[in-house]
């Protein structure tokens, strides 16, 4: 098998003859003797057999369509309008590579320029790159960037950061030797400003999220930014962009760099990937020169017509090599284009309505869950709600599963001080019946 993808399978002999060779092996004569081997792998199968086999394997996954799920904690079930997938599956987008030849890649270049532009409107900063791998790596790159810009080596983060992001930050900061300092949360489940003031001295950057890991809106974003700036640190804001129809653009709240997850628009959960990290900054040469990632710019052609092209490449690895601002090359272009198409479909009204719907559904979830368990933090929640149970959460989770309901994300493991707590999440896709069924089930088991 496999030959059906390989036109010249049938032409091998003739081509070899034309080239004056007698066998393919001659083309591998530079490989040390004995290194060419037979592998212990199955032979190829027909497409039908593979389809049947993988369909069976993948059908073993229980989807959120079959089983109401209240998982969030950084990954959310948003609905992707059908036309988004349809459009990004057009082969001209899907099978292209990085637009090295702008004259035959204007479509992808313009789509990415539009992505950058749409994100710029959301976050309130004019410079946006065409994607990082995800929110977590974007945040880590922002930490490295802040160190390059300020020539300092401490990065301040909230203690209430997702374990995913915290671990990534740890890995990324090891090489350059950045110190990561955690600021605890206060009684409202938000960053403690007094503790921040203690931690900020000598910091390269300060990071805060809206909403935070507990699903709460961090109200003091502007103040945190001021504290950071006073200390000479960059202010990095992480944001769930689906909230930005109703919450102020971080750029307007003082952010120097905004990171976040673009794949919340236009992309399914895909068991966690691919996604696409937002990376935006102010139009300040010092910052732009130090930012990571690929950037598409508007320019003109030899005829003076408008056109698009990759730009500011001297920051990048293929030119600057060891001195590049980042090693990123392949990014998440198609994920970004899907996000752009979804955003263009929502428009300003849709984005606001989406935010409000999520807000209201989360409020309903919180209200109903508060009938069952302790809600440790007041405040406004968006998607995630932290809930503290008296019984061990593992058992509750088990009992919910038996009732074909997937409960929340257990946080007690990472934050022992929170006890038997879990994050339950709602989005615009959450149905009232699901929440009501959850509450009924919890009444029995929690």
């Amino acid at each position: 098998m496999g030959k059906h993808y390989i036109p010249n399978s049938a032409d091998r002999e003739e081509m070899l003859k034309e080239m004056g060779l007698s066998s393919i092996e001659e083309l591998f004569s530079d490989v040390p003797k004995g290194m060419v081997k037979e592998f212990n792998l199955p032979e190829g199968k027909s497409e039908y057999e593979v389809f049947l086999e993988l369909n069976e394997v993948l059908s073993k996954n229980r989807t959120v369509l079959e089983m109401p799920s209240f998982l969030g904690a950084g990954t959310y079930f948003h609905y992707v309008p059908a036309h988004v997938r349809y459009l990004i599956e057009r082969s001209e987008f899907l099978t292209a590579y990085t637009p090295y030849q702008p004259e035959i890649s204007q479509g992808m270049l313009q789509a990415l320029f539009e992505y950058q532009s749409l994100i710029a409107e959301l976050v309130g900063l004019p410079i946006v790159n065409s994607s990082m791998y995800d929110w977590g790596t974007a945040m880590a790159e922002a930490a490295l960037m802040s160190a390059r810009v300020t020539k300092r080596n401490k990065f301040v983060v909230p203690r209430h950061l997702s374990p995913e992001k915290r671990r990534i930050l740890g890995t990324y900061t090891t090489g350059p030797g950045l110190e990561v300092v955690e600021v605890p949360w206060n009684e409202r489940g938000q960053m403690d400003l007094e503790k921040l003031k203690e931690a900020v001295e000598g910091a390269a950057g300060v990071y805060v999220e809206v909403p935070n890991f507990f699903g709460l809106l961090e109200e003091d974003v502007r103040e945190i930014g001021e504290i950071a700036h006073e200390a000479g640190a960059l202010f990095v804001v992480g944001v769930d962009p689906t909230i930005l129809g109703i919450v102020e653009a971080p750029g307007e709240l003082g952010a120097d760099v905004v990171v976040g997850e673009a794949a919340y628009f236009g992309n399914p959960m895909n068991f966690g990937g691919p996604r696409a990290g937002i990376f935006a900054t102010r139009n300040d040469r010092k910052l732009v020169r130090q930012m990571p990632g690929r950037i598409i710019g508007m320019t003109r052609t030899a005829d003076g017509e408008r056109a698009f092209v990759m730009t500011l490449q001297t920051r990048e690895q293929h030119i600057r090599r060891a001195k590049a601002t980042s090693n990123i090359c392949s990014n998440e272009a198609l994920v970004a284009v899907a996000a752009a198409i979804h955003l263009a479909t929502l428009g300003p009204k849709g984005l606001r309505e989406l935010g409000e719907t999520v807000l209201k559904n989360t409020a309903y979830l919180k209200k109903r869950l508060s009938e069952i368990a302790e809600v440790p933090f007041e405040g406004v929640n968006f998607k995630d709600v932290l809930l503290r149970f008296e019984k061990p959460y593992g058992k509750i989770h088990e009992a919910l599963l038996e009732r074909n309901i997937h409960g929340g994300y257990y946080v007690g493991e990472h934050f022992p001080e929170l006890g038997e707590s879990a994050l339950f999440a709602a989005t615009e896709t959450t149905k009232k019946e699901w929440i009501d069924a959850l509450v009924e089930a919890l009444k029995e088991v929690a």
Partner: protein, 496 residues
């Protein structure tokens, strides 16, 4: 072909979305300090208008399905459609990564099986599938090397050796992981200069990052000697899998002495490149390094036929990417592997190598192009247009642009850096002989033109959607977003 920006198509009041109504129509107040007050200049369009806009944009783009796409080192092979079908399965799209293990056995099995394939293909003992792309994989790999040395108390190994023909990501990744990069020159054969390597290694050597076949498409035939030198100096050998398609199914990095490898599922394993991503860059290691891999790994409990996420990796470097990596890309790669099998993979590399050498053979001797270094190539071949530039003023860039006029995608140009006016051609196994012939024919015709009427080449392209794009002005006065464009426009400071 002149499609406006989506913002320019906006008309107030148009609606393209539908949303379910909120569960309860209660007012929830956003704290005053956080409430959005700044305007939200997003476009307003109906769904048909959005679809037409992006359909038209797609028509202004060239993909693998449009024709030959021989970008060297990018392995732009055909992306089988069955891969897409499997990746669109609801069991992929609608699955949350934190679901209870019992509800995602299918997903975990896919990851576990993919790992088994990659292990056997590379000769490695354990893989992480977490890295999102090749460079992310490189960073993972060199971080593992770093952790390994430090863990052993070998804290002074601060240098990473990288050949001068390497991809830019190699030095960049090494630097990100905190290494000092030491460049190793190539010899006249285009392979690693052993003497230079001998003199470069020391007790500071953490490792050597190598691509084999290298970026010239040449197999490092002294690889065993290279491995010996690095290992004896206490360093580790890192394999950049960008060029694996040249030896796929025939030769294994693990058998060459490599300790760490990364692969590119979007190159070698046929997942689409998506205009620059998503990719996937799994990293494999020899047994002695497996305790340093990122968390979680995927485990299999044979007794209970149960797959699980294994966070118990004692010396793990942590995480390099959220969650488990680009799962939807993994599904595509596994689909490809199962269809191809051992026989198909071998056929792929054999024909990829045949095709590259066919181009080398046919184009060689054409005036203006030079084939530096040895003739035998693997999956790609790098010509130099240096003679053409010298004799006619036509540069590699001009040749590339002129190829577009013939409906063909250009090769990678000006890389590797060690070849002047480089034209780096990687046809892959999924193009036909007629396409190869047409490509060579076009390059020959451009040679004729360069020597008879160079202006036509220098002014190329002529037949594309847009004429040659000016990247100098783009960098000089960057316009990165609609917001910047609008602001420049308001200042009257714009000429585009």
């Amino acid at each position: 072909w002149d499609e406006p920006l989506i913002f320019e198509l906006s008309r107030a009041g148009r609606v393209g979305y539908t949303l379910p109504k909120p569960i309860e129509d209660v007012e929830v107040e956003i704290p005053e300090k956080l409430r959005r007050k700044s305007p939200l200049d997003l476009p307003e369009l109906s769904e048909p208008e959005v679809v037409r806009h992006y359909t038209r944009l797609s028509e202004m783009n060239y993909g693998v399905d449009s024709g030959i796409y021989p970008l060297g080192s990018c392995t732009m092979k055909y992306n089988p459609k069955i891969n897409e079908e499997m990746a669109n399965h609801p069991g992929v799209a609608y699955v949350h990564p934190y679901q209870d293990e019992r509800t995602v056995q299918g997903a975990l099995k896919v990851m576990w099986e993919l790992e088994q394939w990659l292990k056997e293909i590379t000769g490695m003992d354990r893989f992480t599938l977490q890295p999102a792309a090749g460079a992310n994989g490189e960073f993972t790999g060199v971080s593992i090397i770093r952790a390994y040395h430090i863990d052993r108390g070998d804290t002074e190994r601060t240098e990473m050796l990288v050949p001068d023909s390497a991809h830019g990501t190699n030095p960049a990744s090494a630097a990100m992981a905190g290494f000092k990069v030491v460049e190793i020159p190539s010899n006249e054969n285009g392979t690693v200069d052993l003497e230079a390597l001998e003199s470069a290694v020391s007790e500071r050597t953490a490792g050597l990052m190598l691509t084999n076949p290298n970026t010239l498409g040449i197999f490092e035939d002294e690889i065993l000697e290279i491995a010996r030198i690095v290992h004896e100096a206490g360093g580790l050998l890192y394999y950049d899998g960008a060029n694996l398609n040249g030896i796929l199914g025939k030769v294994r990095p693990g058998d060459m002495g490599f300790d760490v490898v990364h692969l590119n599922l979007h190159k070698t394993f046929s997942t689409p490149h998506g205009g620059g991503g998503p990719g996937s860059g799994p990293v494999g290691v020899k047994d002695f390094l497996k305790d340093y891999l990122p968390v979680p790994l995927v485990g299999y409990d044979e007794e209970n036929d149960r797959y699980y996420l294994d966070y118990d990796v004692p010396k793990s470097i942590g995480k390099v990417k959220e969650l488990y990596g680009n799962f939807a890309v993994m599904v595509r790669a596994l689909t490809y592997l199962k269809v191809m099998g051992a026989d198909g993979l071998r056929e792929a590399s054999e024909v990829a190598v045949l095709n590259a050498n066919y181009i080398a053979k046919k184009l060689k001797g054409t005036k203006g192009y030079e084939l530096p270094h040895k003739e035998l190539r693997k999956h790609e071949v790098v010509f130099s247009a240096e003679p053409m530039k010298r004799e006619t003023g036509v540069k590699a860039l001009d040749v590339a642009k002129r190829l577009l006029d013939f409906g063909l995608h250009a090769p990678t140009i000006y890389f590797p850096l060690i070849v002047h006016e480089a034209l780096m051609i990687e046809p892959t196994e999924t193009v036909s002989r007629e396409e190869l012939d047409a490509y060579v024919e076009a390059l020959r015709r451009i040679s004729d033109e360069a020597y008879s009427n160079p202006e036509i080449v220098k002014a190329a392209p002529h037949n594309t959607a847009v004429r040659r794009v000016d990247d100098v002005i783009a960098a000089k006065r960057p316009i990165i977003t609609w917001r910047m464009y609008r602001e420049l426009g308001e200042k009257g400071d714009i000429d585009i």
